[in-house]
């Protein structure tokens, strides 16, 4: 074991095309244990596709995905979840006929490999932390969008991931709600879970992440410290639409 030097997650020259459209173009990066990485980029830049490639919902055409130094490129989404990659979906995908609590219970019992004895307490703890405790017994299909987004975060947490992938969970929140969300994500981070967070709400994102990646047309344009990335001319041009 190389110990601290071994990245928890690394992508090596990962590419994916849908027909003639190259949605992920030769992306390589490493995520250190417990690191928080933000991903920004215009709509259609391939951010969610990158998550699908990392979580195993899609197979790359080229390149490899490593978790803890082990090649997981051929593993299914289900196997990668059990190995420690938890994810949320940009468009919430609750188990609509199950209650909020049951949504978490599935995640804990399967992906989290939590026993029947401990699972209820774990799920209730996560619901409390994500502000969903009062909704525990509600059928998830009937929740409003904001609570569904929180459920995405809570369910991903219940799989007890070592890397958690968060896909645009802060959009549409009020100032106060956004503040609570940031506090929750900071707490997850403080517990040692590595985070990759796709987000358009930049002030929320930049208050958590240590590094920022910019995607454009499937290519990794830049990766580095948030303030340096945000200051770069090409980022301002492409992402913020400022003519320089």
């Amino acid at each position: 074991m190389t110990g601290a030097e071994m990245p928890i997650l690394s992508l090596s020259s990962v590419s994916k095309s849908f027909g003639a459209l190259k949605v992920t173009d030769d992306v390589s990066f490493e995520l250190a244990k417990g690191e928080a990485l933000g991903i920004i980029g215009p709509n259609g830049a391939g951010k969610s596709t990158l998550f699908n490639l990392i979580a195993g919902n899609l197979r790359p055409d080229q390149g490899s995905v490593f978790l803890d130094g082990k090649d997981v490129t051929r593993e299914t989404a289900m196997q990668r979840c059990s190995s420690g990659i938890g994810r949320s979906f940009q468009i919430p995908q609750p188990f609509g006929h199950l209650t909020v609590y049951e949504n978490l219970l599935v995640a804990a019992r399967f992906g989290g490999s939590v026993g029947a004895g401990e699972a209820p307490a774990l799920c209730m703890d996560i619901l409390a932390r994500t502000g969903l405790a009062a909704q525990a017994d509600k059928v998830s299909g009937g929740l409003p969008l904001l609570q569904r987004k929180r459920l995405e975060l809570a369910r991903a947490m219940a799989t007890r991931p070592r890397v958690i992938l968060l896909d645009e969970i802060a959009g549409g929140l009020t100032e106060g709600e956004c503040h609570e969300l940031v506090a929750t994500i900071r707490q997850i981070h403080a517990e040692g879970t590595a985070i990759i967070w796709i987000e358009h709400v930049l002030h929320a994102l930049n208050s958590v992440v240590e590094r920022l990646m910019v995607l454009n047309f499937g290519k990794m344009l830049m990766i580095g410290k948030p303030d340096e990335v945000m200051a770069a001319r090409e980022v301002r041009e492409i992402y913020l639409g400022i003519e320089a």
Partner: protein
């Protein structure tokens, strides 16, 4: 509703259930044979319906090929008795196992298909099984065969029942098959409940709601669906074999009848409430009453059944039982996992 303590309510339910089962078990002792035979038909239809409901209502596998398992169960029961000289009740077990074995290659092909294609695929495979059964020369090929005279008289337990109840051998055989059907129905109900409340059952419901999300929280859809497919094939095969002990004659067309062993079963589950545990019970009772009322009207009977099925599908997606629970909130088989400390509202 929640005034009485849940354990008291639970106890009352279990007591009521046991009383009902005891009353049903007493039928052959007090009622004429025709009633026992009628109820045998209802109970076996119920077992088939509960199996199909697990498959379609909970695992999302809408099979139109369950007659394959009824037929294979029946044929292997006949083979066990006629060719291998076994007791018919051992034959029932062999029939169930044979159906489960056949389910392995069937799943291999059918699981590549989804939705409507899966339905048609299972139907095609079932028809192939029917054609193969017609080639089984030792069991009469296309014209089929009958159980040898006296087979059911020598069946396990029949002599004992005959002596104790002081009835004819035929009545004793009816009683034994009837009790077995009752045991199967109760066992199927209890097993379904336990399964759905388990970790596997929770995973199954997650798959039904959202396959992609289920995979992403670590649930393996193929494994769970395959498990349900094999287990329901076993249950359906057992039940098919038992039905044909009572019929005593098997032909490929009767044993692999899509109308008798799948279409009516789907009707029962749909009107009762697909994806609910008590649905098949309600459905089978309604089906039986309709059959009685409309028995003298020939084809009109099937037309009315079809119309009722269509009406329920349009206006009450979760069947009569779904309507009932939605209106009253009563659910004797709660599948919900309640959070440990329910928040006060």
């Amino acid at each position: 509703m929640a005034n009485s303590s849940p354990s008291t309510g639970r106890f009352a339910q279990v007591a009521l259930g046991l009383a009902l089962v005891a009353a049903l078990a007493a039928v052959p002792l007090v009622a004429p044979r025709a009633v026992t035979q009628d109820l045998f038909g209802i109970l076996t239809l119920l077992v088939l319906a509960m199996n199909w409901n697990m498959l379609a209502g909970f695992a999302g596998l809408v099979s139109v090929g369950q007659q394959a398992f009824v037929g294979i169960g029946a044929y292997f029961m006949f083979a066990a008795v006629i060719l291998w000289g076994m007791d018919p009740l051992v034959g029932v077990l062999i029939g169930g196992l044979a159906a489960m074995v056949f389910a392995v290659p069937m799943a291999f092909f059918a699981f590549r298909l989804h939705g409507a294609y899966f339905a048609i695929g299972t139907w095609v495979v079932a028809d192939i099984a029917r054609l193969l059964a017609g080639q089984w020369k030792a069991l009469g090929g296309g014209t089929g065969t009958s159980l040898p005279k006296g087979t059911t008289k020598d069946m396990f337990g029949v002599q004992w029942v005959k002596d104790v109840l002081d009835v004819s051998s035929a009545a004793a055989a009816d009683a034994v098959t009837y009790w077995l059907a009752l045991v199967m129905a109760v066992a199927m109900l209890v097993a379904s409940y336990v399964f759905l409340r388990s970790r596997m059952g929770l995973g199954l419901q997650a798959i039904r709601d959202n396959m992609q999300a289920a995979r992403s929280v670590g649930v393996d859809p193929t494994r769970l669906k395959a498990a349900v497919f094999l287990l329901t094939a076993f249950g359906t095969g057992l039940c098919g074999a038992l039905i044909f002990i009572q019929i005593t004659r098997v032909t490929p067309d009767a044993a692999f009848s899509v109308l008798d062993w799948t279409a009516f079963v789907i009707f029962v589950v749909v009107i009762g409430g697909i994806g609910t545990l008590p649905g098949p019970i309600v459905g089978v009772i309604v089906f039986y009453i309709l059959q009685r009322l409309l028995a003298d009207y020939g084809t009109v009977y099937l037309i009315v059944l079809g119309l009722i099925g269509i009406a329920i599908m349009l206006f009450a997606r979760r069947g009569l039982w779904g309507l009932f629970t939605d209106r009253t909130g009563i659910d004797p088989f709660p599948l919900r996992h309640r959070p440990p400390a329910a928040p006060k509202s």
